[in-house]
Structures are given as C-alpha cells and as structure tokens.
C-alpha cells in the first residue's frame, strides 16, 4: 500500500495504479523458426527477483500512462521511476540482511526484528 510517484501526476496512492509485470521484456519479432522454448521464455519465464525489480505500472485512475519503476521487492522500497523507453537508472537498495536475500522484516528469522550483537546502527 505504498505511494508511487507517477512521472506525470506525482505522488499517488497505490490504489490508483495497475501493475504491469516485469519491465523490459520485449515481444520477439515473429519468426517461422522461433522455437517453442524461445517463445515460452517470452511468454512465461520471469526473473522474479527478491531484490531490485524493474517493473511496469500504469496510472490507471489518473493519466493512464505506463511507466517503469525500480523497486526492492524484499522491502517494497521504490528506488526509481522512469518513463517508457528510458534506460533504468543505477540505484542502490538497502540490501537484504542475510545471505540468500532475506528481507529485513517479516521472516521467520528472529534476527530480523531485533538488533543482534555486532549489528551497527
């Protein structure tokens, strides 16, 4: 239930937006020899990262424009918003605390809720 900064309309509530899935997945040019596997890659296979995701959103209740966004899916921190056709900016995320990319919140791991010895402020 976060706030998204529409590149045209500014900060708006999540409820005004429609999710458009992973960004930068270009629809392949039609080719007779395109393999089923190649097509399946476009159709279904997704990175689904726990970390920085480039994704598409549409400001459905507002200007109806699609745009791209970089978001840390482990924390829902929005790192950048950019327009369709633009290259994603370089961003840094507040990195997940544990080796596999465990979110610093909400897991079954008690360490994430409480400052552990040696963990700096």
């Amino acid at each position: 239930m976060f706030v998204i900064t529409c590149p045209y309309c500014g900060e708006r509530d999540l409820s005004e937006f429609a999710y458009g899935g992973e960004a930068h997945i270009a629809r392949p040019e039609w080719r007779e020899d395109m393999s089923d596997a190649e097509w399946a890659e476009f159709l279904f296979m997704r990175t689904n990262p726990k970390g920085i995701l480039a994704e598409r959103w549409m400001h459905a209740a507002g200007c109806r424009r699609f745009f791209n966004m970089l978001r840390n899916t482990a924390t829902d921190d929005i790192l950048a918003v950019y327009r369709i056709g633009e290259t994603p900016p370089k961003v840094e995320a507040r990195l997940p605390a544990t080796p596999s990319g465990e979110a610093p919140i909400g897991s079954g791991n008690d360490a994430v809720k409480i400052i552990q010895p040696g963990e700096g402020a």
Partner: protein
C-alpha cells in the same frame, strides 16, 4: 445499590455530581460519567468479571487500559448491537449500559465449564495433539464439537447491525501517536511550526500517565496535571492545522508511513443519544510525512503460583484507577514488586486512606528514600520475599509470603497476609508494537530488562516512555524535541516550545530484579503460575514446550497459545519471552519476540469496511434505459459491475416462458435488446489499420469506410480473450466494440501495446462506452420499424447490407446505425448519445408495438445466438480455447503477426485432437442438457476416473429450432460430426447425443437435424 463502597473520598476525573446507571449480569449499579466499566465495577468492589478461555478460571481486571488480557464482557442489550469480548477497562460508561459475562454457564459465579480446571493436569499445552486421533470422522463427529463448544469466548451478534461506519483519508505532516506528556509536547511543538498535525489518543481524554499520578504531588510549571493538559488542549484547538482525535487508536503502521486509526465516535454515548448523522466508528487512513510514536510503556505482571485470582492487578493500573477514576481497588491492598514503581503505588493508596497490608519486594536492596516513606506511613515491608500462594475466589483475600534466598529458592516460615487486592509490578517495558509494525528493529535494554526502539525503518521517531525514557522531565523534553525534529523533517521551521518544569518527579523504577518465574516451596510441576491469563498458559506449559522442543519463540507461542488471545499478549508476552530465555538459558536477544502484527488492538470489521457497505457496497452500473427495464418487470443479472435485464417476464409468466417468448418474438416479429453495456473504443490515427491488424487475428487493411468486421482478440498465449465488431468510420478512424465484461481489460491491453510495445504506431484510443446508448433491433419486422423511427432512412437490407453502417438522424438527433447481428436475424444496432437513450428506447417500443415488438434480455440473446452457433467469449471459451478449437480457423490470417499468433504453433496448442466446439443434440429433443454436463464415449459410466471427452458449454430449449440445442467442446469434435456420444447427468443415466455442426437454424432449414432413433423415443 446506591453506594459505591470503593469510591475514594475524593479525586479522580469523573463527574461525581452526576450518577448514571448500568447493569452487569442483570443487576443495576450506579456510576459516574468519566468512568470506564472497569472503574465503575471496581467502585462496587466487583473484581471478578469473566472466565478464562481454557480452564474457565475466575478472571478479574488486571490492567486499566486496552492491554488488559482478562476482563472481557459482552456489551449491549440488543442482540443486533451485541459486542462480545469487550474489555471492561476500555469501555466507557454510559447511562443504560448493559454488560454481561461470557464464556460461562449457567452464571459467572457457577460455571460448569470450570470442571476443566479440575482436570487441568491432564490438559497441558498441546494435549489435543496427543489425543483424539480416532479413526477418520471421530474428530469431526465427536471430539471437535465438544472442544469447539467449550472454546470461543463471547457470542456473535445477530445480523442487522443498525449502526453506520465510515472511512476518511487524511494526509498530514506529523502524526503523533499518544496523548500523554511526550505526545502532547510533540504535538505542541509540531503544531506551532504550522505543520499539519494529527494527535491521536486512545482513551477519552488527553494526559496519559500525567493523569495516573496524585494531582497534589505533581505540577508542570506550577500547574496541576489536568489543568496543564487542558491548557495544551486549548492551544492545540486554536491551531487550524492541528487535529486532535481522542478515543482513537493507531492500530496499524503500514508501508510508506500509512497509519490506520480507529476512532470510536459514539460508543461512549447512551444508545438513544447516538447521533444518526455521525457514524458509530471511523477508520482514518492517514498518510503521514513523519510519525512520532509516544505510545508509553506497559507494566509487566509477576509470574508466581496462583497469580491469576481476581484482585491481582498491575500496580500502575491501581494508581490509574485511583487518580483518574477516583476508585480504590481495595481497602487493604498488598503490593508485590520487583522494582520501585510498586512502592509509589503503595504510598498513593496509603495517602488515599487504604491500609497497606504489606509491600513484598523480591529485591534485597531498596531505595532508602522509599524505605523511609514506608516507615513514615507505617507500611510493613517484606524485602527479599516472594508471594508463594494466594487465596480467594471472587477476589483475592490472602497472600502467603516467604523469604527468597539468593540462590533462587524460598525459605521456610513466612506469613499469610490478609488483603483485598494485590498490586503487582514486574517493571515497565516500552510499548513498541507500532514501532515494530513499522519495520523498526528492536534493541535489548539490559537495564530496563525490555526491548526498546532501535533502528528505525520508516520516517518515524519514538519519544518518552515508548522510547524507554521513563523520567517525566526527560520524556517531556524528548517529546518536544521529537515534535520539532519531525516538523523540520517535513519541511516546517521549528515552533518555539519550552519544556515545563516538573515538580514532584518520580525517580522511576530503580534497579529491577527480573525473575522469569518466582520460586515457591512447591515443585515446579505443582506450581500454577499464569503467564497468559486469557488463554490459560502457565509457566509449566511453556516449560513443557521447551522440553518437547518447541523452544523457538514462535513454536512456543503456537504450541502453548501464549499471546494468542484477544489482547495478543500485550503485557503477557513480555513474561513469556523472558521465561523462554531463562528456560533455554539464552540471551533475550537470541530468543527474540513474536511478530507484532496489526492491529494493535482488535478493530471492528465494519469500521474497516467504512461506508462501503449495504447499498454503497459496489457500484451498480446501469444504462440510460435502466428505469424502463425496472418498471417493466425485468429480472436482472450482474455482468461484471453492470446490471443487465435478463428477461422481462409478464404477469403469470415464469422466467423460462418469458425467455422462450422473447426468443420467438425476435425471430418471428421484432425484438429489441439494450446493448448499451458493450465496450466501445474510438480508434484513430494514420496507423489504425496496422494496429487492428496486430491486435485481431484477421486482416483489416481492406475494410472500407462504411463497413464493419467481426474480430477475435487473443492473449499472447493464443487463447481467445475477447471479440467484437469494429466499424470503419474513416480511413484512419474506427469504432471498436468489445464484450461488456472485457471493455476495461481490452482498453488497458491496447494502450499497453501502443505505449510500450509499438510506440511507433500513431494511434489514439478513447473509450466511448457510455457516450452511446445502444438498442439492437432484430427480426423480420425490424427494417420496417427502423425505417419509421429514423428520419429519411432507407433500411432496405439490400441497399444497407449486412456489416455496413450509416450515419442517420432520429427526430433530428444524430445516430449511428450498424447492420450487425448477434442473432443471425436481420438486425440494426442504433447508437444514440446516451442522454437520449431513454427516449430512443421508449420510441422504439412505442412505434414497434404495431410490429409486435418485445424487448428481450440477455438470456434470450444467449439463446438466439446459440441457435446460430455464435460463441460467447467466457461461456463457450474459458481461457484455454484457441480460434482453431472454436473451428473458426477462417478468422485466422495466414500471413503477418498478431497477438497470440506464435502460441498457436506450440506443440500442444497445435494438436488436432484438442477439444473443439461442436453442436450437440440430444436424441430426445425435449431433453435439455445441463450446462457443464460432460460428454463421454460410453453409455455406462465405469468406476472413476471416467474418461471425459468434453463438456457442454451452452444449452437451451430453442423455440425456433423446436427442440433442445447445445454447444460443447469435445475432443477432436470436428472429426466427430454425426457421431453418437453420451452426455452425463450428475449421476443419472447418461443420455445419447449426436455431434453436429453448430448452426442449428441452418441444420433445421436444410432438414439436417438428426432424427431420434427408436430406442431413444422409447426411453
């Protein structure tokens, strides 16, 4: 009962000069405005108000606020306004309040459920996992009903809630949670900066801990606490950008500083005074730039044998009842503490006239100052001592005290002390629930023996006791600083705030001595020391959990149910965590906490739904002709958000007869359908044709202006997604229609392709769905009628051919007329600007009367199209059906790409033995198959799993074909035309059917309807 024997002679913020009455379990009592139900009951010496969850033990009031785990009752005289599980400590008293005890039968004092307590030794934590494992069915049939009846707490209300609720959105610069001293300073500081500030206080009045102190012994810049609070409140009221919300709980701290507030607007008013224009409760959805958490601290109970009796109360609560409500929890209180704050409670009570039975302190060394004061007040002190047992049923009447040795054992001897309340203090812990919800990380504070806010995640700061700053002067300063900083962070120059000078500051809790469970002369397994008073979890249960390996904090919680009651363990969890740490022999940091979930306290469902209930639940989208439909007896059906007329049954006509009549009329005379709900999109631009070429499966380059074409739209997965007719308005301009339900999805998808995939295409899209009201007129009489209603218009189907469209006028109003048909009959679809829709509809029906016109609904429409074998996307398709499966390969162009094309060539999608759409005719022409019936190869069903060839997607009795008809998706259907198969009927004997082509009207015309074989007719 006129007297309130435990009302203190003076003090408290209740209106002593006004008496209001309430009933508890049918008995009437007096109280005062300003009381809570708890304080009013305590004023009568009423401690026992409830029964616990599992053992049905007597329960009293432990705390003075929403953190109380024990004192739960049901409020409300009217079953439709019944509020079960209401905390007596939270419910404000009003005149006529009706409260009753719950989870007991036949009465609070005599509860048969208490038998459980006698068997408690056989019912330790998780006993139910080890028993009741009989053969399948015994749990559902035998044990479960018994356990369920014993479990639960209050009874749900009857349906028919008469109250209103609402939700409000609000943005602010600084949200201050908590109206105690720190919160007040924060709000004042932020408010003076000009920032938009919301100050939230859970209880009825601001002041917090300042109101729980002896007003004669505390002053702020020389002002008494209540006056000091009132002065601040007055100043806040003069600030236009400050909103103060009493009776409001910040229950949920979500992402991006979104905080849910729950305001009880009228729950404190007598039922007849609840104002109709105001809601009962409000949900405030607050988006704050900065948040200040001044949520105070919570006091821990002590864990000792028989610590669950009514009359065992938190020392801080005893003080609050005394100073805020003017109620003495007991006349002869005993105090049991592990820190200094218990002592202060004793002194306050003594000064108010109580005879202090004893101060029992587990510590060896105590504040000399306090010792002197105790001596002055003549209070007996038991240092290095512990309570090892208690007695009393409706309320505590005696404690047994023994000396506590350094090694943690208890000595012999000791004494039995008579008392009528036992005030306990296990020390205070910052209330970090909201901080933790905000994703902040907790830090362990060894000195407090508690967690406090550590690392913030969101734009938030804690102040005062919530931050572990217990000393009042420091808390005030911290609150003021937090307000200034929060306002500055939100972009507002700091206001000027002077922190008041505090007289009568208390030193705090001193050095605390934490013992997870206090020892006793009894062996551990005989001790019954409660940790969770509501769900009946004892130290023994937690010990067993650790013994059996459920030692992770979440496992222990789930195995024992600690903290899973309606209080969600606000005060009891602190002891559970400490106990686990001790039992595991590990640092509390290693043990951790369970997750602090939303909501902070239980929030009414209806408040969450707000005003969006009943008639305001969801939009009912209706067309300009809706009122006509209603007046003419239409039966409606929901189609997405729309309500569409399904049929117009006449008097003494049932639904089925109406549909049959409407369908007959449409083919024999004239029918009219309200088709306004179809999605309509205006498509314009030099590349519009190319665009249509890519989004539809067929070719669009050659469609001439004035003509229309049907198109199928696929998903990229090759499956049919939507269909509709698109008209060419001009070379670069088209009018596209979609299904009613698919309109929004199709427009979004088309915009998606234009904006992100094909930005090179110059095409603009605009929805015009509701610009046009649409009447679809069909039937042999329709040309004549259309000629009559339109101005100078030649409807001759020869000159105005099928799939053409024309501009025309109707009484001068410009309309678009489309010669398109979903029924197979001669049809005209007239589009008129929506504001004329009602007039157009009435005109059509009036002028159509002499042609025998009848309006028809969606059901007849479905039937009529099925007679021609036309598909309905979503009925004859289900997201797994390709155009080839529909045997509509003619609509799939060979050359060029389109959305979904590649998917049609995947190895499975290209199979020729997929399920394909065919006609199905029962051999018995009168038998109508159920939609969803399955098609099988053999008459007799074998044992499951039965091989299935397909299923019936559409099925009707067709008055125009004169028999039943059906469409079905059948494996290799296209090659089975003419075959005899069988249709299942929900366990009844299967019936033989013939596979046919789908255009039943043509089959009839060409006399190709299969004749029923003798055996079918003979049954």
């Amino acid at each position: 009962m006129g007297k309130q024997p435990y009302r203190a002679p003076k003090g408290g913020l209740v209106q002593r000069n006004r008496v209001i009455r309430f009933t508890f379990d049918g008995r009437s009592y007096p109280g005062h405005p300003g009381d809570t139900l708890a304080s009013a009951l305590l004023a009568h010496g009423h401690h026992m108000v409830a029964r616990s969850f599992k053992y049905h033990r007597p329960r009293g009031i432990l705390a003075a606020g929403s953190e109380d785990p024990a004192g739960l009752v049901t409020i409300g005289a009217d079953a439709k306004r019944r509020d079960p599980n209401t905390r007596v400590a939270e419910q404000e008293l009003y005149d006529g309040l009706v409260a009753s005890s719950q989870n007991c039968w036949p009465s609070l004092l005599t509860d048969f459920g208490a038998i459980n307590d006698a068997f408690a030794r056989f019912m330790p934590a998780g006993f139910y996992y080890k028993t009741f494992k009989g053969p399948p069915g015994t749990w559902t049939g035998l044990f479960e009903p018994i356990i369920r009846a014993a479990a639960g707490m209050g009874r749900a209300p009857e349906p028919g809630d008469p109250d209103r609720y609402e939700a409000i959105n609000r943005h602010c610069d600084v949200l201050v949670v908590g109206g105690g001293p720190a919160g007040l300073m924060a709000a004042l500081a932020a408010g003076r900066s000009g920032a938009r500030v919301i100050l939230v206080e859970e209880t009825a009045r601001l002041g917090g801990s300042a109101l729980a102190r002896d007003p004669d012994r505390l002053a702020f810049d020389g002002t008494q606490p209540a006056q000091w609070v009132a002065d601040i409140e007055k100043e806040l009221a003069t600030m236009p950008e400050v909103t103060v919300l009493p009776r409001t709980c910040a229950f949920g701290y979500y992402a991006n500083n979104f905080v849910g507030l729950w305001e009880k607007v009228s729950d404190h008013l007598p039922e007849d005074k609840r104002l109709g224009h105001l809601p009962r409760q409000r949900l405030w959805r607050v988006r704050a730039r900065e948040v200040v958490l001044a949520t105070g601290a919570l006091e821990r109970p002590l864990v000792f044998h028989e610590n669950d009796r009514p009359g065992v109360m938190l020392a801080g609560a005893v003080r609050t009842f005394l100073h805020r409500y003017g109620v003495m929890a007991g006349r002869r209180p005993a105090i049991f503490t592990n820190n200094d704050s218990g002592w202060v409670a004793a002194f306050d009570l003594a000064r108010a006239g109580a005879e202090i039975a004893a101060i029992i302190d587990v510590r060896r060394e105590m504040s000399p100052q306090h010792l002197a004061e105790a001596a002055r007040l003549g209070i007996p002190i038991h240092a290095s001592s512990t309570v090892v047992a208690t007695a009393g049923y409706r309320r505590i009447r005696q404690v047994e005290v023994r000396p506590l040795h350094e090694d943690g054992t208890v000595g012999q001897g000791g004494s039995k002390i008579a008392c009528d309340v036992l005030a306990v203090s296990g020390g205070w812990a910052p209330n970090v629930a909201l901080f933790s919800q905000s994703r902040g990380k907790l830090a362990w504070d060894g000195e407090l023996a508690a967690f406090r806010p550590g690392l913030s995640w969101q734009r938030e700061r804690s102040a005062g006791a919530a931050n572990g700053t217990f000393a009042l002067a420091d808390a005030l300063a911290e609150g003021a600083r937090a307000g200034v900083e929060a306002a500055a962070a939100a972009g507002f120059a700091s206001g000027d705030v002077t922190v008041p000078e505090v007289e009568g500051a208390e030193p705090g809790q001193g050095r605390i001595k934490v013992m997870a469970e206090l020892p006793s002369h009894l062996p551990a397994h005989r001790r019954r020391a409660w940790i969770d008073l509501q769900d009946d979890v004892t130290a023994k249960d937690l010990r067993l959990a650790v013994q059996e390996g459920y030692s992770a904090v979440e496992h222990a919680k789930r195995y024992t149910t600690t903290g899973m009651g309606t209080d969600q363990g606000k005060v009891v969890n602190l002891n559970a965590f400490a106990f686990l740490a001790a039992e595991r022999g590990e640092d509390p940091v290693k043990v951790g906490t369970t997750t602090f979930r939303q909501p902070y306290k239980p929030v009414t469902f209806a408040a969450l739904a707000g005003q969006h209930m009943g008639p305001h639940f969801l939009p009912r989208r209706t067309t300009p002709m809706h009122a006509w439909h209603r007046r003419h007896g239409a039966v409606f059906e929901p189609v997405g958000e729309w309500l569409r007329p399904r049929a117009y049954p006449r008097e003494e006509e049932d639904f089925f007869a109406a549909v049959q009549r409407e369908a007959r009329t449409a083919r024999s005379a004239c029918g009219v359908l309200d088709a306004s709900t179809l999605g309509k999109i205006d498509v314009k631009g030099p590349n519009a044709r190319e665009f249509l070429n890519r989004v539809y499966t067929n070719a669009w380059m050659k469609l001439a202006p004035g003509m229309c074409r049907y198109g199928l739209m696929l998903g990229e997965d090759g499956m049919v997604m939507d269909d509709g007719v698109t008209a060419c308005l001009a070379d670069d301009h088209f009018h596209m229609t979609t299904t009613t339900g698919g309109a929004a999805r199709v427009l979004a998808k088309l915009e998606d392709y234009l904006q992100t995939e094909w930005p090179e295409l110059k095409v603009y899209l605009t929805s015009v769905t509701e610009q046009w009201a649409v009447a679809s007129i069909c039937g042999p009489k329709s040309p004549e009628l259309v000629g009559e209603i339109l101005d100078d218009f030649d409807p001759d189907p020869e000159k105005f051919p099928f799939m053409a469209w024309r501009e025309a006028t109707m009484a001068g109003i410009p309309v678009r007329v489309f010669r398109i048909s979903f029924t197979g009959e001669t049809s005209y679809e007239i589009n008129i600007p929506a504001t004329y829709g009602r007039w157009m509809w009435r005109t059509i029906l009036e002028k159509g009367q002499k042609h025998g016109i009848a309006p028809y609904g969606t059901e007849a429409m479905h039937l009529l199209r099925a007679e021609k074998g036309f598909i309905i996307v979503g009925q004859d398709t289900d997201g797994t059906v390709t155009p080839h499966d529909l045997r509509m390969s003619w609509i799939v162009k060979k050359s060029g790409d389109f959305i979904g094309k590649r998917s049609l060539f995947r190895s499975d999608t290209a199979r020729t033995d997929r399920r394909q759409l065919v006609g199905i005719l029962t051999e018995d022409p009168e038998l109508v198959l159920e939609e969803g019936s399955h098609i099988v190869a053999r008459r007799n069903e074998p044992a499951p799993p039965v091989p299935m060839l397909g299923h019936v997607t559409s099925s009707y009795y067709s008055p125009n074909v004169g028999r039943s008809i059906a469409l079905a998706l059948v494996e290799s259907g296209g090659t089975r035309i003419g075959d005899r198969l069988f249709a299942t009927r929900g366990g009844l004997p299967t019936v033989p059917v013939r596979v046919t082509e789908t255009d039943f009207l043509s089959l009839k015309e060409n006399r190709q309807l299969p004749q029923a074989p003798r055996e079918a007719l003979n049954g």
